[in-house]
Symmetry: C2
Subunit: 545 residues, 2 copies
């Protein structure tokens, strides 16, 4: 038996495009003499469809795609993920299902039992979990279909669910496990994915074919890396990361095993490729081409520009330098050097004249009050305004250049440097920014060394440095990481050896700035806990604040 | 037996304040000779605690409050909602529980079985559902405790769950049902709440004591309206809306029944009171006092100002008029009249001088391009900038004045009139704005009639009217309501008689503007489907767009 895995880049709600891609893959698989081709979870509509699932029309269009695929399932079987109406009145109205199609018809439907409802996942919001389990007999082989999370309760010290669907299906003695997934990227996820698949093969003793999505849906990046694990627990194949791939496997070869194609992975390469994918698909799926961003001469905007150029091409990225009276001479030079290195259009729009008019306008109301953060915010907002004006006039989308450390402690101006359609580096801590910049510069200086080496500064008042307002990033980031990624509270942080006063200060900063993050752009998610849909906190909360 | 219900205004994560309120209520109930006092769902920490629940420290502090209440449970029993650690390794780590405290100790814990995971609710994200059910024997009476959603599967045509917890508990033949709730307001929710409680009393034949939260947690408003329903299905008592209330009932009287205290409800009075509560608690719980807003002379900003004055007092509301060359003379007069009616500080800051400088600065880059929406957005952003500068300098929080129709179709400028800490009218359609304004003016003209009667206009270009860009609101709002509140898709809308071209145009506008709403301020929720946490849609979706 030949089994094809199709690791595709779907687009949420774009039924035509998703179906066309799948039909093309079916044609290819037929040419290769495949017996069955497998697509990802909810492949008809893309993942995550979110509240579109509440529209009957949306579900009907998913079913139209299923039926179109069924019609194409002649001489080949097709396994595809799609929502499915729950015929029973009690419980949620939908299942998250794997449709097995053959001979022009839907032959079998398996429902997902384990519904991830944590971080960015909201599946219990929409779906009823499967209560019954069955397998499929096809060409003399028995296949157990599972969907994504269904296999993640195995080999887990703190299982989130009380059942393991494969435990139930083992009564049928399946020959093969096929898992249709939509498993998003984080820089540490591929390892756990391989472990989970291996744990299942180890426990159940049959090979697993695991097919993932690839490509970005705003914040969420699917990295691909689809897997075939043979009964000897070797990674028979691991598909490429961040690109589409359609590949056919001979089951006999997989069962024999003895081949290991596990890939090397490196955090900053993965992060880099994920962000480039995130930018490319954000623009591509919204039908956009061109980006604009402010270039301050600092490392964050420089790195954002590089990633944008790699995603969209130099001809589609426009850098704007907006020096103020507090900008150092170096800032302009460094920004220019970067633009020249990248070959992108750049313009200089000094903000002093606008600032002066605002000052004149507001001074009568400021009634002799001292200059404070207000004046700093005005400068940041003038820059946001200029960028948005150019964005509106020319249709370039503004890229936000804030990093995760800044978002965490609220070191940024709402409607100023927090503007943008997409926060490219919003899930990358400042200390990681340096490492990502080093990765970018590995084959030669793209980001000027001066942008990397100088002390970080917002340059909104004379001689200002980030470290005037914040702990040094080397001190700040480890606390943020433990608090945000690992949900470690104050007492435990202090037990870990972090300074109590600093812990209290940092946690307070994080918590009182929820109101700012609420209005931040969507953040490309590269860690296992990004700001945005995966981290939900109340604005009026009074905890640690 | 005497039963006290305590309908309190909790504050998320403010353990000291929540505990103090509850202990004060216990003292009061003891003075009234009560046998048991009941607080709301998750009362120790406030609702919704969201991802704070992922911190061990947060749960420990909830348990500290439970133990402090247990210590006070001398001569009186206490029922209080709080998270509870799930001792079993399989499944989620927490339960959402009702603690029954007496004689200084935790005597019994009932867990919630039905975990709402829809709209603004994410309970399955945190909690394991109860799998076992038991009742409590106290002073010769058997009590069945349920938590909020647990009773909502009864009397429901499309039940979301497969079990009804009370069905299980009826084997113990309970004498009383007590439900600890945190059931948020929408203008049509009180009726369904009474129906749900009545359906339970009718099905199980014993009286129900239902205690709710009151007060706002950013977007979410709890309206109170706690209920006592006697076995004859009469509403023995319905507590006041939008205020705290502690009241003791004699069980014998309730069982006898024959008394109906059901309140009259009127949509716009409820909406008005909910929004005033929303503003008051947003400021109060964040430790803030003063608000600022732009007054355009239009109905939306006028209504926002009135509601702010009612929530915060005239001395704490500051109106800023920012006329441009396209503002009509009436606009300034109408805004001034309103400010005088309300007795609030108001200032005039014309925006022309700033606009001219931006134009001079950007013209070289605009390369002879025609004026378009860019110039309109610049004006809106100058206003946002001025308001934010005053907000930063004086610590007044900016109130956003956008309405739901505008948010829906993206008729607003990001970082311009979409700025603000709280969107006061963001869940009120334009056609409802008029009715709410009429309610505000019922005892005399507060909002100038001219602001109500003139055609809506953004006044960003000569002679502009909203109806140049949008269908008339009488046409627009019914389609939006069916699409947003009722999730009716295009084909069904056309079947309902709406014009196909208009339906397609409106739905497309809603869907392509997801990116704007993503960065909108939190919206005070008054309907059953508000923009924000209760409505989750992908930005890169290609559905109906």
């Amino acid at each position: 038996m030949k089994i094809t895995l199709a690791q595709l880049n779907y687009h949420i709600g774009n039924f035509e495009s998703n179906l066309r891609k799948m039909l093309d893959a079916v044609t290819l698989a037929k040419e290769e003499g495949s017996d069955i081709i497998c697509f990802g979870e909810l492949a008809t509509c893309g993942y995550p469809p979110r509240d579109f699932l509440e529209f009957r029309d949306f579900i009907a269009r998913c079913m139209d795609s299923v039926h179109a695929l069924a019609a194409a399932a002649q001489g080949i079987a097709i396994a595809v993920g799609s929502p499915c109406v729950n015929p029973v009145v009690e419980g949620k109205d939908l299942y998250n299902s794997a449709f097995f199609l053959f001979d022009g018809k839907v032959q079998h439907i398996s429902h997902k039992a384990l519904l991830p409802t944590y971080d960015i996942f909201d599946e219990y919001r929409y779906f009823e979990p499967a209560h019954e389990f069955s397998t499929v007999e096809y060409k003399g082989k028995r296949i157990a279909f599972t969907i994504c999370e269904d296999i993640w309760n195995v080999g887990n010290d703190n299982p989130l669910y009380k059942v393991c669907p494969m435990d139930e299906m083992m009564k049928d003695k399946p020959d093969i496990m096929i898992n249709l997934s939509a498993s998003p990227f984080s820089y540490d996820h591929a390892e756990s994915r391989i472990s989970a698949v291996r744990a299942n093969v180890s426990k159940y003793g049959v090979p697993m074919f695991y097919v993932n999505h690839v490509g970005a849906q705003t914040e969420i990046i699917f990295d691909g890396g689809s897997l075939v694990v043979s009964p000897d627990l070797q990674v028979f194949d691991e598909m490429p990361y961040f690109e589409e791939c359609i590949k056919t496997y001979n089951l006999a070869d997989v069962q024999k095993g003895g081949i290991n194609n596990e890939q090397q992975k490196e955090k900053y390469r993965l992060m880099h490729d994920a962000i480039v994918t995130g930018i490319r698909d954000y623009f591509g799926k919204l039908g956009l081409k061109k980006a604009i961003l402010g270039l301050s001469g600092g490392i964050d905007s420089a790195l954002t520009a590089v990633l944008a150029v790699r995603a969209l091409g130099a001809e589609n990225v426009w850098g704007v330098l907006m020096p103020s009276e507090y900008s150092t001479g170096h800032s302009v030079t460094d920004a220019k050097d970067l633009a020249v290195n990248l070959g992108i259009r750049h313009d200089i729009v000094p903000i002093r004249s606008v600032f002066d008019v605002y000052e004149g306008l507001l001074n009568p109301l400021f009634e002799g009050k001292q200059a404070d953060v207000t004046e700093e915010n005005i400068q940041a907002r003038i820059r946001g305004m200029i960028l948005m004006a150019l964005s509106n006039k020319f249709g370039h989308i503004l890229l936000n250049t804030s990093n995760k450390s800044e978002f965490a402690v609220g070191y940024g101006t709402l409607y100023g440097d927090m503007c943008g359609g997409l926060a490219v580096l919003g899930d990358v801590y400042k200390t990681e920014i340096y490492k990502l910049a080093a990765y970018v510069n590995k084959d030669g200086e793209v980001i000027p060394l001066n942008s990397i080496c100088k002390p970080p500064s917002a340059e909104l008042r004379p001689g200002q440095k980030d470290s005037d307002s914040l702990p040094e990033y080397d001190t700040l980031d480890p606390v943020l990481f433990q608090y945000i990624e690992n949900r470690i509270g104050p007492a435990e942080l202090m037990e870990m050896g972090f300074d109590p006063a600093m812990v209290n200060r940092i946690l307070r900063l994080v918590n009182i700035n929820e109101f700012k993050r609420f209005q931040a752009p969507p953040v490309i998610r590269v860690s296992n806990k990004a700001f945005g849909a995966g981290r939900r906190l109340p604005i009026v909360g009074k905890y640690l604040s």
